[in-house]
Each structure stands twice: as structure tokens, then as C-alpha cells.
């Protein structure tokens, strides 16, 4: 994407965010890059869906159709970055929220691996009914 297009894209996204944010809070006068969509700007999940729909009508792209969910995008800057990358044909970059979620998922995965690696209770003698086995059941 050329540099000349970038400011237009940013302005398009800010305008779309502002239009939707003002429907629930008409006092919002402008949108800042660092503002959180669901925080300061007060967008609900349905507002985010409306935002993605509006930008798809305008830009004919949807960066959130695959890989990254719109609900994982935190700030206006993250949103802009997702569209910029999509237009440039780049893979979407996880936002801070996505990265945190990925870290938590990885932590859960590691914990599960640790549980699996623990020594198991001695195996019951062959032929014992599984219903009679003692110890914790997984």
C-alpha cells in the first residue's frame, strides 16, 4: 500500500469508529488512536460487528473473517493496523489483548502437559474392572 493511501485509511477508520461510538454517546467529539474500543469509546460486541460491516462496505475487505476476531482488537490503532496489514497482504498481527490471550492459552497448554507428565498411580492388575479402580479419575 502506498503511503499516500495510509492517512485516508486511518481517517476512514476513525470516522467509522466515531460514527458508531456517537450513536450511544453523542458527546464524543473525536477518536484517538490509543482509545480502547470497548473501554473509553464504549462499543459493545454488536457495535464492533456493525463497525466491521460498515468498513467492509466501504473498503471491501474484512481482516477479521479469518484468524483474528474483532473482539480481540483493543484500540483504534490496533484496528487501523489490522486493516493496513490486510490491505498490504500481510498476516494480521495479534494485538496486546490477543497476545495476552495467546500467553494464557500457552500457559494452560503447558499446565496440561505438566499434569500429563506426572507419575500415574500404579496400574491395576489385569482384568480388574475400571469401575473398581481407585485414585483420581481424569
Amino acid at each position: 500500500m502506498s503511503n499516500a493511501q495510509t492517512p485516508d485509511l486511518e481517517e476512514t477508520i476513525r470516522a467509522a469508529v466515531l460514527a458508531i461510538a456517537r450513536r450511544s454517546n453523542p458527546t464524543i467529539a473525536e477518536v484517538q488512536s490509543a482509545q480502547r474500543l470497548t473501554g473509553e469509546l464504549g462499543l459493545k460486541s454488536l457495535d464492533l460487528a456493525q463497525l466491521v460491516a460498515s468498513l467492509e462496505m466501504e473498503l471491501a475487505i474484512d481482516p477479521f473473517a479469518e484468524l483474528v476476531a474483532i473482539t480481540s482488537v483493543r484500540t483504534v490503532a490496533d484496528l487501523y493496523d489490522a486493516y493496513r496489514r490486510c490491505l498490504a497482504g500481510e498476516a494480521p498481527a495479534p494485538s496486546a489483548g490477543v497476545a495476552a490471550g495467546a500467553s494464557r492459552a500457552e500457559a494452560r497448554r503447558q499446565a496440561a502437559l505438566r499434569r500429563l507428565a506426572r507419575p500415574r498411580p500404579e496400574a491395576p492388575p489385569a482384568g480388574a474392572s475400571s469401575a473398581l479402580r481407585g485414585g483420581p479419575r481424569s
Binding site: L46, Q50, V52, E56, M57
Partner: protein
């Protein structure tokens, strides 16, 4: 109905879908519809001076999600908006479940349910952008009452009613209404397999004493899609002459 009303309907080349398309065209609306192949109706509407500028038809397999997406975008590009969506296309699979082939079950689910979900998703995006719209799922009395021989079909229609209720709650705050129309037996290809005796039996069990005709259903569809139903959403309107009451 104001002239710029734009209706998108799946399977509008014949039967109830054609009748709804004709009704909206006659009232000045623009209509976008698709079907697997053209029919005399689609060819006529595409060529007649009175309708050709307001009628958009494409040959399309409803189960091809990407093609549906392209169709919705093309319809919006042509007419500027989508005011009403009718999920009409369906296959009336019949037979005992115990004897149904897996590919029959999959095919019925793909056309009657998955295709409707995907088309609704695409049109919902346009309607979210607009902040208005009306969606109508063509259900069936088979979704409300059990009938031997149509369990797969009934399952898909009951699922559409579930879609109606949940989506109505989901998109209501954005000015989009979602309803179901549940026809009883009506004169169409779908009852073509019934004998005259069977039809007479249905008419005897129907409080209003006859099978529905297409006009009965078109009127109900028109109402649910119109501003007259502006405060109705998440409902299933049963048009069966009282058969299930």
C-alpha cells in the same frame, strides 16, 4: 411500500419464492434473487421493460458460500441497500430417518440451514451498516408439530425458528427485525405428491376448510417485511388455516 424497497430472496425462480418476487416487483420494489437455473419467470423479469432495471437474478448454488457472498455484495452495489431478506430456498426431503442416506441428511442441512445462515450473515452485515432491515425465514408447520416422514426437513425448519428468535434479540438493537413464516400445506410443488384424497383430508382437518394458496403466504410475507410489522420481531407467523391451533 415505497419504491426504493430492496428485497433479496433465495430461490426466487419458482413456487413461493417466485410469487413473493412478483408481488414485490408489482409494488415497485427492486428484487435480487438467485436459483440454480433460469425459469420463464426469471427470463421474463430480466427482459421486460417494466421490471428489468429492478430485477437482478444470477444462477447460483445456494450452498456455495463464497458465491452467496458475492451475490449479496453485487445486489447491494446494484441497488444501494438491502431492506428485506427472505430465506426461502429449501429442499423438502422426506422419508423415514432410519432409512435416510447420510448424504441426503447432509444435503438437506446444507441447503435448508447452512445456506440460510450464511446468507443471513452476509445480509446482516449490510443491514448493520444501514441500521435497518427485515429478515424473514420461511419455516414450516413441520417445525411446530411432528409429522412422520419428514424428520430431517422438520429439524432444519425448527432450527430456522431458533435462528429467528436468537437473531432477533441479537440485532434488534440495531433496527433489524427477524421473523419466521410457517406455512401449512399449500398448493405448490411440495404437495404435488399428495393424492386428491390426502388433500381433501387435510382440508377437512383445517378449520378454514382448505389448503392455503400462494397469495395467502405472500400477503403474510409482505406484512412481516413491511413497516406495518415494525414492532414485530422474533416471532413465527403460522399461516395454515388453523390446522395447528
Amino acid at each position: 411500500m415505497s419504491p426504493p424497497y430492496v428485497l433479496l430472496l433465495s430461490g426466487g425462480s419458482r413456487g413461493l419464492g417466485q410469487a413473493i418476487c412478483e408481488d414485490f416487483l408489482a409494488r415497485g420494489a427492486a428484487v435480487a434473487t438467485f436459483s440454480r437455473s433460469p425459469t420463464p419467470f426469471t427470463e421474463r423479469a430480466q427482459s421486460e421493460p417494466e421490471t428489468r432495471d429492478r430485477f437482478f437474478w444470477q444462477a447460483l448454488d445456494a450452498t456455495a458460500g463464497d458465491a452467496q457472498r458475492a451475490f449479496v455484495l453485487a445486489a447491494r452495489k446494484r441497488f444501494g441497500r438491502i431492506d428485506g431478506l427472505v430465506n426461502n430456498v429449501a429442499v423438502a426431503t422426506s422419508g423415514l430417518l432410519a432409512l435416510a442416506r447420510p448424504d441426503e441428511i447432509h444435503g438437506t442441512l446444507a441447503l435448508n440451514l447452512e445456506a440460510a445462515l450464511l446468507l443471513t450473515q452476509r445480509c446482516c452485515r449490510v443491514m448493520l451498516h444501514q441500521g435497518s432491515g427485515a429478515i424473514l425465514n420461511v419455516s414450516s408447520v413441520n417445525a411446530l408439530r411432528g409429522h412422520a416422514g419428514v424428520p430431517v426437513y422438520s429439524a432444519t425448519k425448527a432450527a430456522l425458528d431458533g435462528l429467528t428468535r436468537s437473531l432477533a434479540r441479537e440485532v434488534g438493537p440495531k433496527g433489524i427485525r427477524v421473523n419466521s413464516l410457517a406455512p401449512g400445506y399449500f398448493e405448490s410443488e411440495m404437495v404435488g405428491g399428495l393424492t386428491a384424497e390426502q388433500k381433501a383430508s387435510i382440508a377437512r382437518r383445517t378449520p378454514l376448510g382448505r389448503l392455503a394458496n400462494t397469495a395467502d403466504l405472500v400477503a403474510a410475507a409482505r406484512f412481516l417485511l413491511s413497516a406495518d410489522a415494525a414492532f414485530i420481531t422474533g416471532q413465527t407467523l403460522v399461516v395454515d388455516g388453523g390446522l395447528t391451533c
